[in-house]
Assembly symmetry: C2
Homo-oligomer: 248 residues x 2
């Protein structure tokens, strides 16, 4: 299935509730109008559709309007690593800027929509609007930080710690978007979670069962409720920070 391009004059950045997560952070009304005129096109994706694929020539980067996507990085021998799950307001396609080709596949986990940001035009606008330029740099940098945290998880944490911090990370990001931090729907399969965390799907399943028995979570299919968020936090190695904070 190929993505379907749509052009709705409605649905502008200026009225988008996701502006706070996306490019328009810190812009004046007049500046946001200029972004509006840049981002005229949107792409609708059905579950399983690719927003872009490894090797495609980059012409645009994307902002997620609604829905969720995964990005995955494939090895020629067929193995692949899911490098991220992405929520509304996040930017996609940034890894393609380096050599004008997307380095990963971006696949919709559910019906989704993305705003198309023509990259050439965007760069031009970013030179004219300092706070847009700065916001873009911040976005790229935060992406790096996110990846580094992910590296820490894969390199230094045990399976149960990885899963716990995964659940809490999702909780934070959903909360920031106004959803419940303690109860949400996982849009990805156990296998996809496992790929993201560098463990097998069976291990993910076993850990969910274990967490559930320990009273940390309730899980039914892909619907999850975090019961004891402090308990989960203690598993992640971040607990000592909280502990310190509580004592100061």
């Amino acid at each position: 299935m190929n993505p379907i391009a749509t052009s709705k004059p409605a649905n502008k950045c200026s009225t988008c509730v996701l502006g706070q997560f996306c490019l328009p952070v810190g812009l004046s009304v007049e500046e946001v109008d200029r972004i509006d005129s840049l981002v005229t096109e949107r792409v609708r994706l059905k579950k399983g559709d690719a927003l872009y694929r490894q090797g495609d020539t980059l012409s645009a980067v994307y902002g997620i309007k609604f829905g969720s996507l995964k990005t995955e990085y494939a090895l020629p021998d067929g193995r692949e690593q899911i490098t991220g799950f992405h929520l509304p307001g996040e930017m996609l396609g940034l890894d393609g800027i380096g050599n004008n080709q997307y380095q990963s596949n971006a696949i919709a986990l559910e019906d989704s929509e993305a705003c198309v940001v023509k990259f050439n035009e965007f760069e031009t606008l970013a030179r004219q609007i300092p706070s847009l330029q700065q916001q873009f740099h911040r976005i790229l940098s935060k992406e790096l930080t996110q990846d580094q945290r992910h590296l820490l998880s894969l390199g230094s944490l045990r399976a149960e710690e990885r899963l716990a911090s995964f659940l809490l990370n999702f909780s934070d990001r959903l909360a920031a978007r106004g959803y419940s931090p303690s109860e949400y729907h996982l849009r990805m399969s156990r296998e996809e979670i496992g790929s993201y965390l560098g463990i097998q799907l069976e291990t993910v399943s076993r850990l969910f069962s274990r967490f559930s028995e320990s009273g940390l979570i309730q899980i039914k299919q892909r619907h999850i409720k975090l019961i004891d968020m402090n308990g989960l936090l203690e598993l992640t190695g971040k607990s000592s920070a909280i502990h310190c904070a509580a004592h100061t």
Copy 2:
């Protein structure tokens, strides 16, 4: 030990052989001059010195002039993950742009020097010189791609595959800088390699011994010679790509 700031009017970007890896890519003579006037300060580091530390306020990003550094990301419980080893021409400190604080420690693996790029002034210049802006975006994006490859390694490869691709990655990067791709000095300990690859130092040591017995490498202390680069490549999962390429 704290880094020592130096200010040498010599040693300009315009004459730096690393320009091809660094910011000045694709700039005119006149444009490089403007970078020269921006990058007036350099920092000398002795082995073990920190260029910056997690939590320091960001005022500059850095270009490595000579030497090598590691970046590491720490958990409050003391565990830490080395997220990268960095060679001359590469930029450091980019992860601090997101919220104006460096997210990692950057530590010199040997006596090194870094060029200081005041970030505010740099952003201003980048708005005025399109190809500088574009080069900076490319650098950030390639950093993302590098991290994604690292994630693939930690998430999907077995220990021996990780080490093999680590050795080949270094080989490539050294070759690009004019050094021998098949023989080089490892500036980091077995423990640091292990941290980077998400395995224990004993495993690194055993694998070096195994590779050596198999005739893939020769290693004495930290001096390594890659004997059978194809053999190493076959371990990484990338072999099939080469194979395909050879048949087309």
